[in-house]
Symmetry: C2
Subunit: 210 residues, 2 copies
Amino acid sequence: MQADKERIARLLSYKNLLHRFESMGFVRFFSDNLADTLGVSASLIRKDFSYFEIVGHRKGGYYIDAVLERIHEIIGYDEEHKVALIGVGRIGEALIQYEGFKNHHIEIVAGFDNDRNKIDENSTPPVFHMEKLGEFLSNNAIKIAILTVPGHVTQPVIEILQEEKVEGVLNFTPIELKSTDKLMVRDINIEAELANLIYSVKQLKDKQYN
Amino acid sequence: MQADKERIARLLSYKNLLHRFESMGFVRFFSDNLADTLGVSASLIRKDFSYFEIVGHRKGGYYIDAVLERIHEIIGYDEEHKVALIGVGRIGEALIQYEGFKNHHIEIVAGFDNDRNKIDENSTPPVFHMEKLGEFLSNNAIKIAILTVPGHVTQPVIEILQEEKVEGVLNFTPIELKSTDKLMVRDINIEAELANLIYSVKQLKDKQYN
């Protein structure tokens, strides 16, 4: 069964909060502790926990270390995730330098670009010419890619990813991609989100003034 | 009535495609033209058009200029949208330099940061110290903000935005914000999207192997 997006997002916020509880010296916590801090109902938290088979202690409450271990297992943080980033433009560059992925056991192991000025095979992570993409994916068994190329090169890149059996793509291009059985896609279209926001604000105002 | 996210995303893709049709010399188009190019059904397109009150010509088909005008009106592109960007870190910097917003009649008119090294009041757009945020929003009647600050400064910034009657926020911080009657929020949590993707890929594999 596929958990919905909101449920996973909540799981991540539980995880972050439990790490904070842990750093404060907590060993056990109650669903109410999470609920109060996150501003959601304790019953929703218990439902999420039951969905993900996170079990409490028979004396009540939950052990933080056990719950975190289970969450990491669910989310796949019990292993490191090597990610390739394709398209080292402005957004690509920001993501490649972004420190926050480490907390999620995600490592961008290489960047790829067509522009020779962007290429630096000795940097950390290295940036290779796009020609080397297929070979790199295959040699390093990369399963996840971040796509930050211009719209018109999306399709040829997707074909390489499919050929090399990449399984997940985080798509920042303006081209909407469809998930298939073999390749999961999450679209992040910043322009569209912003346009969407402006539209929603406009709707809200029209409603208020009419 | 509030259109859902997918519907607005489709409207934006119709818009982009119609601009391309226009540049190819088209004057009229049929729902099948859009359907074939976008890989969606013509009936879905007609439903969207009817939802947004986009009307065809009595002889059949649609006039591109009339449809584009109507789409621009719906999305709010009949006016320019001035946006403030708060937090000029890596993602903030990438967004501030991003050319693609212009196509959406969106202009980032100023950046704000606490770090004096980031501040440059003479650049285009200028980057001001966070102290000047409230005054700038109020003087320039800014209604939309992009939030790219670290998590722990999200709340104080939101309070300033509310005070200055900002109506929409595109939120890139890891803090999930709730929309209110007065302030619409769209969350873009890149870490969570990536973690979510990894989780989904894992689920897919577990399903295939079990």
